[in-house]
């Protein structure tokens, strides 16, 4: 498994870098998903499940952005996807330049889908365009239905919201309808997928969305 050390990009023009990277991906027909969430919301379990379900049909790559360890990249590689571990050197988010360098270090040009597992943080990653075609946000049921009120930017910036650990909803005071309403108020176009990577509930709908997004991307 490869590990790459990334520092913050020197360039000031993150938006321009992001746009250029997005164009490169469009040309190669590769769709990059930027996966953002709190620590412990289940990004890795969700990815593992998606890879298991979709790896037969698509070439999948994963870029793991972590402060330090490589626990997640190891799990992903065991499932057969190609993975690269990007160490952000204490940085709390990925920017477009860092994403580009991580992608180049993967040295794979035949990929259909790439998932960037951003640093576990609801704040800073929302502010930086990584060049992804789709921004996906994960909110897990145990975190609470009030998070859209507290971290509005991330909900505004995301194309789809994945509500994970839906199998545990009976154990928490999580009001699904209230949460959806708060999210839609911030972002009327957002798609919402309640799923459980553990039981498989809702995964089919999410996988269809991913497939359709790839078709649209290549159209």
């Amino acid at each position: 498994m490869r590990v790459i050390e990334l520092n913050k990009s020197v360039t000031e023009s993150n938006d321009a870098d992001a746009e250029a990277l997005r164009n490169d991906f469009r040309q190669s027909g590769t769709l990059l998903f930027n996966l953002m969430s709190s620590p412990g919301s289940g990004k890795t379990s969700l990815l593992s499940r998606l890879i298991k379900d979709m790896a037969k049909k698509f070439e999948i790559g994963v870029m793991e952005a972590d402060i330090a360890s490589d626990v997640d990249a190891k799990k992903i590689e065991d499932l057969g996807a190609c993975a690269i571990q990007a160490h952000t050197d204490g940085m709390c988010h990925m920017d477009a330049g860092m994403t580009k360098r991580a992608y180049e270090a993967m040295d794979e040009n035949e990929l259909d889908l790439i998932f960037l597992e951003n640093v576990g943080n609801l704040i800073c990653p929302a502010e930086f365009d990584t060049g992804a075609g789709i921004n996906l946000m994960i909110l897990s049921i145990p975190e609470g239905d009030d998070k859209p009120l507290k971290y509005p930017l991330m909900f505004e910036k995301s194309d789809a919201l994945i509500l994970t650990k839906i199998d545990t909803i009976d154990y928490f005071d999580f009001d699904l309808e209230k949460c959806k309403e708060r999210v839609k108020r911030l972002n009327p176009d957002i798609k919402i997928f309640p799923v459980s990577a553990k039981t498989g509930e809702g995964m089919q709908e999410l996988e269809t969305y991913i497939e359709d997004s790839l078709k649209d991307w290549r159209a």
Binding site: P39, I67, G120, L122, I123, S140, P142, G144, F172
Partner: protein, 236 residues
């Protein structure tokens, strides 16, 4: 304080090269006013506010409690905490993902320390950036909730290294999640052998008295040191 009367203060992260010097100033101010401060840090949704409310309920008859709520942009927590009986100030960090010492200093001034014994800073929900900034608090406390997983110390080591105490929260749902408490403790102690680890449920109250006992002991020791220094000064 009426819950409709929340003070809101807009603060931006200052580019102060010497945050540590500012932190020392905060510590001096707290010492001078005989106020003990805790910097409470955790992921979003780990249960900081619920734990704080329960802490206020347990200690409000003994200490006069103030809370600095640091959020990117909202005041939902401040209202909850004010209703529990603490004096509250809401800080808006203007998008910044952590509190630094200067922002904290302004928060303390906004709150006013003359009628307080204990201040809790509820830091921005984030396991990364808040760990890097000494805000001048007497003790740093982190909460890791059971649903987040026992591997978090491996992924966010600095937070667990800088804290004096770790609360493992939401233990009432331990059975629903594959959370290995022993493994978690082992990871944490490897990073920080001195850290206290207390598993609690702020919802059911399970084990919560252990945390309250620890906090009381820290406050009492701080106050005894203060009184002792005062006596020595008076004698001199």
């Amino acid at each position: 304080m009426n819950k409709n009367e929340i003070d809101i203060l807009e603060v931006k992260s200052d580019v102060i090269a010497d945050n540590d010097r500012e932190a020392a100033k905060v510590r001096d101010l707290l010492k001078q006013k005989k106020v003990f401060m805790v910097n409470l840090m955790a992921s979003p949704g780990a249960g900081k506010t619920t734990s704080l409310v329960r802490t206020i309920e347990a200690l409000k008859d003994k200490y006069r409690i103030g809370v600095i709520e640091a959020d990117v942009d909202s005041d939902v927590d401040a209202k909850t905490v004010a209703a529990a009986g603490a004096k509250v100030i809401q800080l808006h960090t203007g998008g910044a993902c952590h509190m630094d010492a200067n922002m904290t200093h302004r928060g303390l001034e906004g709150l006013g320390l003359d009628d307080l014994d204990l201040v809790v800073l509820e830091n921005v929900g984030n396991l990364v950036c808040p760990a890097e900034f000494d805000v001048g608090a007497n003790k740093r406390v982190a909460i890791l909730s059971v649903p987040e997983g026992h591997d978090k110390p491996l992924k966010y080591p600095l937070m667990f290294t800088v804290c004096d105490l770790l609360m493992v929260g939401k233990t009432d749902v331990a059975e629903v999640f594959d959370f290995d408490l022993a493994a978690c403790e082992e990871y944490v102690k490897k990073l920080n052998p001195q850290i206290e680890v207390i598993p609690v449920s702020a919802k059911t109250g399970e084990n919560f008295d252990k945390w309250i006992d620890w906090l009381e002991a820290q406050i009492e020791s701080f106050r005894q040191d203060f009184d002792k220094e005062k006596r020595e000064e008076d004698r001199a």
